[in-house]
Subunit: 399 residues, 2 copies
């Protein structure tokens, strides 16, 4: 007789939420699908020939170490290389001791959640916000509280504190956010850190896209404004390859120390082999070169997607104009349900992500996220046309 | 002003325990150290030339997929290959749907802990038991309850149930356990599953060493005795390479489903690149060939370590005679403290792991774990001599 699993699940397991994206997409015919859905980088940006050479070298000279267990904190050289990079990006006091390598930034967010969040704890996040981050908060049975605009943040923090629910941290993606594509202004960054300082809050600065800036002025890392209270997370997934599953956390040493203990029981260490490959890749200067070519590659796609939106989108639809990253975010007329639109589009082999899942308060039903990095470029126009036609179709009952 | 981290840690973070091994070893002079400490496989078993060929092929033919994001459940071919292997090992009804790929078996244990364990929940484990498993239980603020011998298990389960603390599962490493080196007999396996059935408990069968059997008869997987209530975990760390950080869980589909949701927020997926390499490695039959040669390799080392123990150990010291795996477990005379012995030995450049940390009840102070897989074979004898001399030295005050 099978055991009744549901009766013995942990409370956290009951609060975990499945990413709805995969299930929905299983309906689609993969080979014909035009996908504006995932946040995948394009495989055309993968430097396969360089990698072949690097793997050969690592296996030739360093196999005994690269295939063995490694330190929980991560490859020492990799930590030093990242510290150097961030020093050049304005984190003046950083050393390798402020760096831990994680199984991509998803684990960075998960470990941060686990060391800070008790059940029912609150934290501040955006409306919308990165789904994977919300999932890691829910997996700790915490309660993310969404803030639509920075201007309302202090008011919400104050309310939470006076209700005895002081937030544990502010979670933000300041550069070309997933899913919104928006970037916090310098003023907003200062405002955010001032609130964090005033109410003694931590900040988690999730920074997977920062290096993919196409135009506009580079703005300071929030971590550079107050290194003592900011936890910075990053990843190689968007600037190198996602298949290695490597990311990092930059934080004060006492926080890194807690993350190391949490990571010991989570997975001991991240792929030691893949870390060795990344070290070699960075040491050869290929990382910086690749970022530069990725910027050019994705800028063209962003430009194309924006011009197609200009050309095809019906009145009443608005969208963000990202200065970098992989997404733009679309707002439909208020009564237009993006989930219904998704079903219509999927029957026509177009996928995107309906925006509701990025909103921890259940709002955003008339929003959707468009990814322009992954789709076959020759199918972009057809995809935007399907989207546009479907919106018009969907709107007609209200016309 | 720095934020007071300690005041905002989660309860789970407060209950997490650091592995003491690393800190202790940092005192040692690494280049001269004779290490009987870690559970590392020997790099001489790594098939580097085969890997070079495989990597070349994967990057030649499959780079776009192997470097991209992959499914949370893991590489489909890898799941199918593992299902086939376990079918041949007696799990008759298994399909790929019963398999999830994890970031090595440490993550397998961590995800199982997270989906089942609430704070203060109990579970049954061995005395001694694998430290990494205990760490994952503590990271959920759960209370592992140690059972020294299978014969006492039912009594302890009954006591816990009547105290309203019914254990969530029984955790066991039935084959060549870490750290004890012991193997459950067929009778003990049946007894364990009978208790699980009678009291409706899950069993976690942690099985990292099973394939490294040197002699004696192969015993059935506990999972083959009752597939409905057993969660089986495994890893490529001891039979291939640990640096890839790849393992798996075999379980009923409804449990796999919960693990998938937990893994989405934990790290999205494990290294897609390393999974592609393992698939190619298995498809070529190299995996089975490598296991056979590993068995021969480690059998010689076990034999040598046992003969050195016979030759050098003073009276009053006993140790287990493992039929496989990487460890033997030593019991010193009752008043002899293994931690003190460790300090003496480390000054003489010999490391092992004092056994107390494997005992969730704080017992085992006169025990220690000896690993024979990693140490330079030419230094084994010197290491055992240092150990023996130090035990004699340590005992003299009581003589």
């Amino acid at each position: 007789m099978a055991i009744d699993i549901n009766s013995i699940l942990s409370d956290n397991a009951r609060n975990m939420r499945r990413s709805p994206v995969r299930g929905l997409l299983s309906r689609a015919n993969a080979s014909q699908l035009i996908s504006f859905a995932g946040g995948f980088p394009n495989q055309e940006t993968f430097r396969v020939d360089d990698l072949k050479e690097i793997v050969r070298e690592v296996l030739e000279n360093d196999a005994a170490t690269a295939l063995q267990y490694g330190p929980t904190e991560g490859n020492l050289k990799l930590r030093m290389l990242l510290a150097e990079r961030y020093k050049a990006m304005g984190l003046v006091d950083i050393t390798y001791e402020n760096v831990i390598i994680t199984t991509a930034s998803q684990q960075a967010l998960d470990l941060c959640s686990r060391i800070f969040l008790n059940p029912d704890d609150t934290l501040i996040c955006g409306l919308p916000s990165y789904l994977g981050a919300l999932q890691s908060f829910w997996a700790c049975s915490a309660e993310p509280v969404g803030v639509r605009e920075c201007d309302y943040m202090e008011e919400i923090v104050k309310k939470l504190i006076s209700a005895g629910k002081k937030p544990k941290f502010i979670y933000t993606i300041p550069d070309f956010s997933n899913p919104s594509g928006l970037t916090l202004t310098l003023e907003q960054r200062r405002q955010l850190i001032a609130i964090a300082f005033k109410y003694d809050l931590l900040v988690i600065e999730d920074s997977p896209y920062r290096e993919l800036r196409f135009d506009g002025e580079e703005l300071p890392l929030i971590a550079s404004l107050d290194s003592e209270r900011v936890i910075l997370t990053g990843t190689f997934s968007k600037t190198f390859v996602p298949g290695f599953r490597l990311g990092w956390v930059i934080a004060p040493i006492n926080i890194i120390d807690k993350l190391v203990v949490a990571k010991q029981s989570a997975d001991l260490c991240s792929s030691v082999f893949d870390q060795a490959l990344v070290v070699k890749y960075m040491e050869r200067g290929l990382f910086e070169a690749n970022i530069r070519s990725n910027i050019n590659y994705y800028r063209k796609r962003r430009d194309k997607m924006l011009s197609l939106f200009d050309k095809y989108m019906p009145e009443g639809v608005s969208w963000t104009k990202p200065e970098g990253g992989l997404f733009l975010f679309v707002t439909l007329p208020e009564k237009c349900d993006a989930m219904e639109l998704f079903n219509i589009c999927l029957d026509r082999n177009l996928a995107f992500v309906a925006g509701e899942i990025f909103h921890c308060d259940g709002s955003g039903k008339n929003t959707l996220r468009i990814n322009y990095s992954y789709v076959d470029e020759s199918k972009m126009e057809q995809g935007v046309q399907i989207l546009s036609d479907s919106i018009k179709l969907r709107r007609s009952p209200y016309a």
